[in-house]
Amino acid sequence: MTRFSEILQFLFSGLTVGSIYGMVGLGFTIIYNATAIINLAQGEFVMLGGLIMFSLTAGAKLPLYVGFPLTILSVTTVGVLFERFAIHPLRNASLLTLIIVTLAASILFRGIAMFIWGKDPYALPPFISGSPVIIGGAVIIPQAFWVLGTAVTIVILMSFFFSKTIVGKAMSACSFNPMAASLMGINVRKMILLSFALSAALGAVAGVVITPISLMEYDRGPVLAVKGFCAAVLGGLGIGYGAVIAGFMIGILESFTTAFIHSGFKDAVALFILLFILCFKPSGIFGSEEVGKIKKF
């Protein structure tokens, strides 16, 4: 293997992992935009997506095109229930309490997942069987294209949703000023519920597409949440496409760290970037300080 193909190989694996971080980061962004809450249970949505998909397709033998939507539906239901029973009753509490509630929910989801699926990691078969593609000497498994394609599709759909549809615009309005939004006739509570549903669905998609590559087990959530959060902050908290691009960057950097420095420090990369960006440019790569100032968070 030449040096070039080696680098290319790590670049592709970085992009694959990075797109998952990006999707988790996007999930953070959606809830944050509607509520200013950092949802620390975001990683658990991904975990639930992977494990429910496993039960439906490998366990109940449902075909992919039935299992996938059903998985998204179930995780979305979890997100909606979470909002109804934990976030909604505390709508008058401080932001601090709400963040701790999401932390409690993440522990709770993890416990429930361990109760149902146990501690073993589960694998899914790839969506399409086929021999790996070789580009410039680098070997790429077909599932990686699925992951990348999903991430890109989601970004396009989301930006369409937020900039072109009336519901999406209403949600963005809530993020800037919920008071003004409600005076404009926007049902802010419904938007908050919708943001949790959307973000859970997004997590489920990420979980389903990544499980064939990296397996899934009950305690994957926190790691994914931390990385996704790094992506969200690096891209500029509240900026959807920023989170996804930053996710790609973190994935690639991690992959190169594993390759050229030391695999033990792989997980530290994202965190160093997080601390660095908080020190020097807290508004993120794509954020502007002026916009940051008017946000409530």
């Binding site: 950092i38 963040i99 509630v101 993890r110 361990m114 931390v226």
Partner: protein, 325 residues
């Protein structure tokens, strides 16, 4: 310190004083020692949460820095116990400043995020720097604390040492709250803007509280290392940070008495969760959720309100009976 605190404090000291006279079992003594150690950390966290309105998701890292400073410096570099202890405090304080100065300038809860990242990095450092920390297999052979031949081994002596320090730090924290600093902090908690308008340097006060809470955690870490004499990374991971936060929430943020209560309950809890084995995570999640939903101000406040309500009921019934007669 405030007059209202002196009576309960006296009762607490008396209870702690007579505890080892009646309880001789090493098991109960060691649980009490762990409660003492956790109380010290939770006091600091409670100050941070209740008075600066911030949360830390990486306090186990400062606990770990204290423990590893004490452990590594005494075992590998021949430091005395006291100098290793002070180095831990210094290092935690400096690290806390480094994390807090940039993040607390920002509005919002960036500190929570930064501490989460910081905690994970420190955890990786404990695991990966094998030569110094012993890596995943841990560091053993940490000496007992020894003052001029008077060794603080396990049992009663260590109980007295830990709780002696805990009470001193508790009194210090109470004094902080009732000082000018404490008033400034409460003003900040009420409203950042109003406090700033009154001339309070908001972010600097927050940084100071955070550093103080890190130092408390470091003290607890040193005490832990010299008691258990073996340390390994999982004791200082993310889940422990969450448990510490849970202690604050259970007791009630912003009340130092609540901190003691929370530390006590959450430290004892695992002893009763043994039959659940690995499912203790589920139980923790449920407890935390229930308390947040139904007693968001914590058990201490919740129980006080409940007690008042019951008293009120009894009193009103008595008056009804009295009127009837």
């Amino acid at each position: 310190m405030g007059k209202e605190n002196s009576k309960p404090l006296a009762i607490l000291i008396i209870c702690l004083g007579i505890f080892p006279i009646f309880v001789r079992s090493d098991y109960y003594l060691s649980i009490m020692i762990f409660i003492g150690i956790n109380s010290i950390i939770v006091m600091g966290l409670s100050l941070l949460m209740g008075y600066a309105g911030q949360i830390s998701l990486g306090h186990a890292a400062f606990f770990g820095i204290g423990a590893y400073c004490s452990g590594v410096l005494t075992v590998k570099f021949g430091f005395s116990v006291l100098s290793a202890f002070l180095s831990g405090i210094l290092l935690s304080g400096v690290m806390a400043m480094a994390v807090a100065v940039p993040t607390l300038r920002l509005k919002g809860h960036y500190l929570a995020v930064a501490t989460l990242g910081f905690g994970e990095i420190i955890y990786i450092v404990f695991n990966e720097f094998l030569d110094i920390t012993g890596g995943p297999s841990g560091l053993s052979g940490i000496p007992y604390i020894d003052f001029w031949g008077y060794a603080f081994k396990e049992g009663i002596r260590y109980f007295c040492l830990v709780w002696g320090i805990a009470i001193l730090l508790f009194i210090f924290a109470l004094n902080v709250i009732h000082s000018r600093v404490g008033r400034a902090l409460r003003a900040i908690h009420g409203s950042d803007v109003a406090a700033a308008a009154m001339g309070v340097n908001v972010s600097w006060f927050k940084v100071q509280v955070f550093a103080l809470s890190a130092i408390y955690a470091s003290v607890a870490g040193s005490l832990y290392a010299h008691f258990v004499t073996f340390i390994s990374p999982p004791t200082f991971g993310l889940f422990v940070s969450i448990l510490l936060l849970m202690m604050v929430v259970v007791g009630g943020g912003g009340s130092l008495w609540g901190a003691l209560l929370g530390a006590g309950i959450v430290t004892i809890l695992p002893e009763y969760l043994r039959p659940f084995k690995d499912f203790d995570v589920l139980v923790y999640g449920i407890i935390l959720m229930v308390i947040l939903l139904f007693m968001p101000e914590g058990l201490l406040k919740g129980l006080t309100v409940l007690l008042k309500w019951i008293r009120g009921k009894i009193a009103s019934r008595q008056t009804v009976i009295g009127q009837g007669a």
